[in-house]
């Protein structure tokens, strides 16, 4: 039997300490010093939009333009970039399903994985020897994911949350999920068989950066990448609220 070198154990312990705990977005922890101006203005942002926004803010020529205007310009850049990546099938699916009746969240149905991850509510990480638990405040959803060091296999029946595996790459926790059912939510579409990769990287100053990669050749010609920042909020708790009681818009 192979034994783990002690320095590996030490490194793992550090990775766990860095990631464990409750993390909030700029939406619910607006005063946290870990957040930058662009985190507030573009909370779920394509890299091209984030780069554009940072350049706009850094350029003194834009000092007289309101930040809201700069944020709208960056959002437009991000939306155009995403639209440009859509396949014909993805575009058609979005067009057909743009109404409220096709938004699972509005229908009060449990969220798909993408909607769960992008929800701007706190999440909590707990790490164990062979698995990681990610507890999402949104719908009080608990994901227990094996730390296998291997990629998820696309060989199971598709489900809302798919089947996930996790591994560490340095201090970055990488979660890969396959066997996902397709979903539509707020301008995004994914199809059956897509793969989601979450790359969670703790930074200094109590900051956690998420790089979310949607690999869905049926919907997007290239993997779609989105960035989201979170901040450590040790006083925060995952609330045990009923997730959904009434369909939005209905009495």
């Amino acid at each position: 039997m192979l034994s783990m070198p002690c320095w590996v154990d030490g490194a793992r312990a550090q990775e766990r300490t860095a990631l464990e705990g409750v993390w909030s977005t700029a939406f619910t922890a607006r005063d946290h010093p870990a957040f930058t101006i662009d985190d507030h203005l573009c909370p779920l942002c394509a890299p091209v939009a984030l780069d554009h926004l940072r350049k706009l803010i850094a350029d003194p020529a834009n000092d007289r333009r309101p930040l809201q205007e700069l944020a709208q310009e960056a959002t437009r850049i991000g939306n155009e970039s995403r639209a440009g990546l859509l396949t014909d099938a993805g575009r058609a699916r979005l067009k057909q399903n743009s109404g409220a009746a096709n938004d699972a969240v509005i229908r009060c149905e449990p969220p798909d994985l993408f909607t769960l991850i992008r929800a701007p509510l706190p999440i909590a990480f707990t790490l164990r020897d062979d698995h990681v638990v990610i507890h999402h405040d949104f719908w009080n959803t608990v994901r227990t994911i094996r730390l296998t060091g291997q990629s998820a296999q696309a060989d199971e029946r598709p489900t809302r949350l798919g089947s996930s595996t996790a591994r560490f790459e340095g201090s970055t926790l990488v979660v890969e999920t396959r066997n996902l059912l397709g979903a539509i939510s707020a301008g995004f579409t994914t199809s059956d068989g897509s793969k989601l990769v979450e790359r969670w990287t703790p930074r200094g100053g109590g900051r956690l950066d998420l790089e979310l990669i949607i690999d869905d050749p049926a919907s997007y010609r290239e993997p779609l990448v989105l960035m989201q920042a979170r901040a450590r909020t040790p006083d925060e708790k995952i609330l045990d609220l009923p997730p959904c009681e009434v369909t939005s818009g209905q009495r």
């Binding site: 969240v105 609330l239 609220l241 009434v246 818009g249």
Partner: protein
């Protein structure tokens, strides 16, 4: 208690909320490009998900009463803003400003709730009122950073 509808005119609106904040799409239900204001008496306040909601009895100029539904932010989000769920009580007289329903039914997505004494409650979906305050703060932060760079 006497109540009345004070304004029900559609107004053009400069959007303050960021679409990227929404993790679902209420646009098919509410028209965020318009704004209306109604005044009435709280019948019920429900601190729930996916959106907190308040039912308000509104009486028009002819004395006809109608029940309005207003939807706000997620209860989990409101908790983090310090809301406890007892902010509105039956009998409270309030003014609601927000996006009207697209189908013309008496409901809106509130952006701002104003009490009789003038105090304001935000808590709208996407937190547009809070976002306006945040943007002011970020503008100050930006000026401060720029000032630090040029020194």
């Amino acid at each position: 208690m006497q109540t009345k509808r004070v304004l029900l005119a559609a107004l053009p609106l400069v959007m303050l909320s960021a679409p990227a904040l929404a993790h679902h799409n209420s646009a098919p239900i509410y028209d965020a490009s318009r704004s209306i204001t109604v005044e009435g008496v709280v019948k019920e306040f429900r601190f729930i998900n996916p959106h907190a909601r308040v039912y308000v009895t509104v009486v028009d100029g002819k004395g006809k009463s109608q029940e309005w539904l207003a939807e706000g932010a997620n209860a989990g989000v409101l908790r983090r803003l310090g809301w406890k769920g007892d902010e509105l009580k039956p009998g409270d007289r309030i003014k609601l400003t927000g996006a009207p329903s697209r189908d013309g039914s008496p409901k809106l997505e509130w952006r701002l709730i104003t009490r009789v004494d003038g105090t304001e409650l935000g808590g709208g979906n996407g937190l547009p009122n809070e976002r306006r305050e945040l943007l002011q703060r970020l503008e100050e932060q930006r000026r401060s950073q720029r000032s630090g760079e040029t020194k």
